[in-house]
């Protein structure tokens, strides 16, 4: 089986194969259609959108919608476009990702190597938390944050993302560390390493692959979040997804579908960019973090 056969390439293109390719290409077209519609709609002007087929390519390119979506489109009475939302999303995502990944790596490390009685009980509780619908926790958590004086603020939303990211991230870090050879850890112990030293000098240098997976998972997850941003970020820190929804769902004025679609593309650029450059890592993240649902 392992030797490469000599002679001409066998003809694989039977009728069945052609049918297979036709079918899979049709599936691909279905999956691509919304992205295609989004892009071409954003490049048409409103007259053409009203007159022509939604699936037709634009007769002439119009770049009116993009700058408008970015900096002028209105949400309620404010007409600053998505730019503030983008800035807010960056301000929310970057610290949330750093804090939650660091904390979860530490958790995973402690759970994998420094077990103590009851540790796994609390870990089980924490995993259980990954499945509880946010709606059950949103209001009491809001009260807790209000009590702490961080409700409706940047630290408030960062804390919430850290909390809700923790179960799944802790799980993937723990699983990764549990797969490392235990002898390595024992050797480090014999050499006199303590909890902190082993973490910084032995574990962290080995954690690059799993950290990439965790960061991808969190960046896309937090960027795409809507509900938590809506409730916890406060009016001044609303993330891009919330502003996008506000821009598109305005009740008054003429709907500008090209602006709406530009805004939609702009909002999904970051996760799509992460997805397209990270490919396999993203898939690993899904497999590892399958629990996120």
């Amino acid at each position: 089986m392992s030797t490469i056969p000599k002679g001409p390439r066998p003809k694989h293109l039977t009728v069945g194969r052609i049918g297979l390719y036709c079918f899979i290409i049709m599936c691909a077209l279905f999956f691509l259609m919304p992205l295609y519609v989004m892009i071409i709609t954003s490049l048409k002007d409103m007259d053409e959108i009203r007159a022509a087929n939604i699936l037709n390519l634009p007769k002439e390119l119009s770049f009116y919608a993009w700058p408008k979506a970015w900096s002028q489109a209105c949400t309620g009475f404010v007409c600053e476009g998505l730019k503030p939302g983008f800035v807010n999303s960056v301000k929310i995502t970057v610290p949330s990702v750093i804090v939650s990944v660091a904390l979860s790596a530490l958790n995973g490390y402690a759970l994998a190597f420094w077990r103590f009685r009851g540790a796994y009980f609390f870990f089980g509780l924490c995993m259980f938390g990954a499945f509880i619908p946010y709606q059950v926790m949103v209001y009491p958590l809001l009260k807790i944050e209000d009590f702490l004086g961080i409700y409706s603020s940047l630290p408030g939303i960062i804390l919430v993302h850290t909390i809700f990211g923790m179960p799944i991230l802790t799980l993937i870090f723990r699983n990764f560390y549990a797969s490392l050879p235990i002898d390595l850890f024992k050797a480090a112990r014999i050499d006199g390493g303590n909890f902190i030293k082993i973490f910084f000098y032995v574990i962290i240098p080995m954690s690059t692959p799993i950290t990439i997976v965790a960061v991808i998972l969190q960046v896309t997850g937090i960027w795409n979040d809507f509900l938590l941003g809506l409730v916890f970020a406060g009016r001044d820190n609303q993330p891009m997804t919330v502003q996008l929804n506000n821009i598109v769902q305005v009740d008054y004025g003429v709907a500008e579908y090209n602006v709406d679609m530009s805004a939609t593309i702009l909002t999904s650029l970051v996760p799509l960019f992460v997805y397209f450059i990270s490919g396999r890592w993203f898939v690993r993240g899904i497999a590892a973090g399958a629990i996120k649902g």
Partner: protein, 293 residues
Amino acid sequence: MPFYRNIAAKIALLPMIVISLTVFVGCIIYSFVYSLTNSKLVPVMNYVGFDQYERLFKQRKWDVAVENIFIYGFVFTIGCLIIGFLLAVLIDQKIRGESLFRTIFLYPYAMSFVVTGLVWKWVLNPTFGLENSMHMWGMTWFELDWLVNRDLAIYAVCIAAVWQGAGFVMVLMLAGLRGIDEDIWKSLSIEGVAKWKSYIFVILPMLRPMVVTAIVLIAAGVVKVYDLILALTSGGPGYATTTPAMYVMENFFSRANLGQAFAASIIMFISVVCILAPWAFYEFYLRNKYANN
């Protein structure tokens, strides 16, 4: 074991323990306690027994929400499983451009629910959307007015959700298919079993753990569905596509009817537990039991 042994690990896990207890457990207790009160704008300790639940079950809107979540849960889960499995099988046929197709089928999963909702809202737009395209191509009998049709709007939500989630199931299934032993395929082809029969009657039963995991993860996500519907239909037309999550959020934040919201959120929580409990029992208890014997 003395308390100070392993003290560093205990301190490291302290945030996780505190969060598990206060947020995951505490919030549920808080919600349950206040679901037994007649709190309106602010939580007050005014015990009324299970009145809120009784009132909840009498609400027509809640009935609609529950009905919708069943339709959505059924169609979305089955749709994702069938399409995800089909795509995985197609990709498993040693086709050219495998990674390109995989990228195409999975990219929607990287996008936000809000984005998915808004794109499909535009594609299914009754005036300018696909229906119009079909009419322009001469298929005037074609009707796609789902978004404005009370009975069909929830299926529009299902389409958008399947479009986004099918790639996720594909990834899980593909991992399973790649783990199937070559020898099984060899013996199947020696026996002369048709390929599609092999997939359905031999391979699929072998993938049962993957299928079960996929179902549980999807079902636990179904209960939470909120942003997608908010973006796509805002719960409309009327309240035809409202869901329990929306009912909860409305009563918390726009109707100032906290007691109702708490009661409804507790029902959501119980339904998630009902989905998870049999699975968790099987995964963590039965499997360990048989593994040890």
